[in-house]
Symmetry: C2
């Protein structure tokens, strides 16, 4: 069955306190995209963080001596480095000379700058943080869409992550509601009749990468719909995509 | 613009010497999928390797003492471990107890078992290796489709990789022909007018993840088409997706 990836353009600049579900429902209507039961809505972290007030004005931040020291060698803003350190549960790798900090967030995600980012945020001194609980953010949008449209969609919050060894960024899932984040094929038989031993597909990540193909960082398209993918309907959580520390060969 | 992801089902079991482009052109015709100029064809590594004879009968393999030692603690087949070692340019991480070998291949890809895999290969003793030159494989399929259909498609060879820190597998690109593997947005301005400093999107990887949504490991759908994504028409190479060692914080 063919899958469609449909952009939802035309959202306004999102402000703290905005109702993301209502904005998306309105933008979809304007774009003549009729959101349906079984659709998967992928929303970028950026607009969710803005709506939840997860922005920081760097002019209010007093950098610590460590933040100053790190910032100095990498020619970064020490106040932004301070925010990154505050958002980090663990520093995984740091290259001060290049100003790169790979950190584990309190959610367990490992990414550059603990998800602190200045792109697509109006204001020279403004950065966004990841949502406090991206699964809850996804659940809230799902509930809002159900109220607005009477339809049951799955909702995924996406963010743009780098990867070790591979160049280039891809979009992955940081919050999930209404679907199982993975497709667990362990124990099933492949086409040659062999039992699959290790095959757990990160479908929520693949859906974010698919949706990113219609979004783009330059156009104001912070949401997209994937239609025609038969997902497993459960409450769901992006925590399923965090590799348990005891299974992670690259934790240290 | 909406993007479509269209499965190409109905391919026969592929054998050494088969013409993958011809098989796909025939399967697409049977499935009434009219392949078009500007389509992106994503083909799984498995059928490409089979067609190129990149399979090994483990009964012909004499394991080295090292392979025997590694296999023993992880309860793996020492002959398969031997093949993994032969396909590796560098062992990145090894957990013998769990039988996990993360290796860099001669192409520069870092993945489990250097891409040696027994799933979806008929015969209890058979494994596949990655193509010797997956870009060349993609080029060959692209040329074959151009001859068969008179249409210029981009072709990507996909494989299924794990990732550090994140659970679950995703499909990524190991061979590319006819398109730029990345979308380089560095120097462009975002919606807030800020210049993007680090944004290089791994679009070939995102296209493989998108295509995987219609493929699946269980159904015999080893190819899919992404239609409606405006890619940059160049010769292209998946080597662009290998992070240069000097930029790789996780090389060691």
């Amino acid at each position: 069955m063919t899958i469609e990836i449909i952009p939802i353009p035309g959202l306004p600049e999102v402000k703290a306190g905005d109702d993301v579900a209502a904005l998306i429902a309105a933008a979809a209507r304007s774009a003549q995209v009729a959101l349906r039961d079984g659709d998967i809505l992928v929303v970028t972290q950026k607009i969710v963080s803005k709506a939840e007030g997860r922005t920081v004005d760097l002019r209010t931040v007093e950098p610590s001596p460590l933040a100053r020291h790190i910032a100095e060698s990498g020619q970064k803003d020490p106040r932004q480095v301070e925010v990154v350190l505050r958002e980090s549960a663990r520093i995984v790798r740091m290259d001060s000379g290049r100003g790169v900090i790979i950190a584990e967030t309190r959610h367990g995600f490992v990414c550059a700058n603990a998800g602190v980012d200045a792109s697509n945020v109006p204001g020279e001194h403004m950065v966004t943080l990841l949502p406090v609980d991206p699964d809850a953010s996804a659940r809230g949008i799902r509930e809002g869409l159900r109220r607005a449209l009477g339809a049951d969609l799955a909702v995924i919050i996406s963010d743009t992550f780098g990867r070790p060894w591979r160049d280039g960024l891809v979009d992955v899932a940081i919050g999930v509601a209404g679907m199982e984040a993975v497709l667990d094929l362990r124990g099933e038989s492949d086409t040659a009749g062999k039992q699959l031993k290790a095959t757990v597909v990160a479908v929520a990540d693949e859906l974010c990468s698919a949706a990113n193909l219609v979004m783009g960082k330059l156009a104001r398209v912070p949401a997209g719909v994937v239609r025609g993918y038969a997902y497993q309907r459960v409450d769901g959580t992006a925590r399923r995509l965090v590799r348990p520390p005891q299974d992670d060969l690259f934790r240290y």
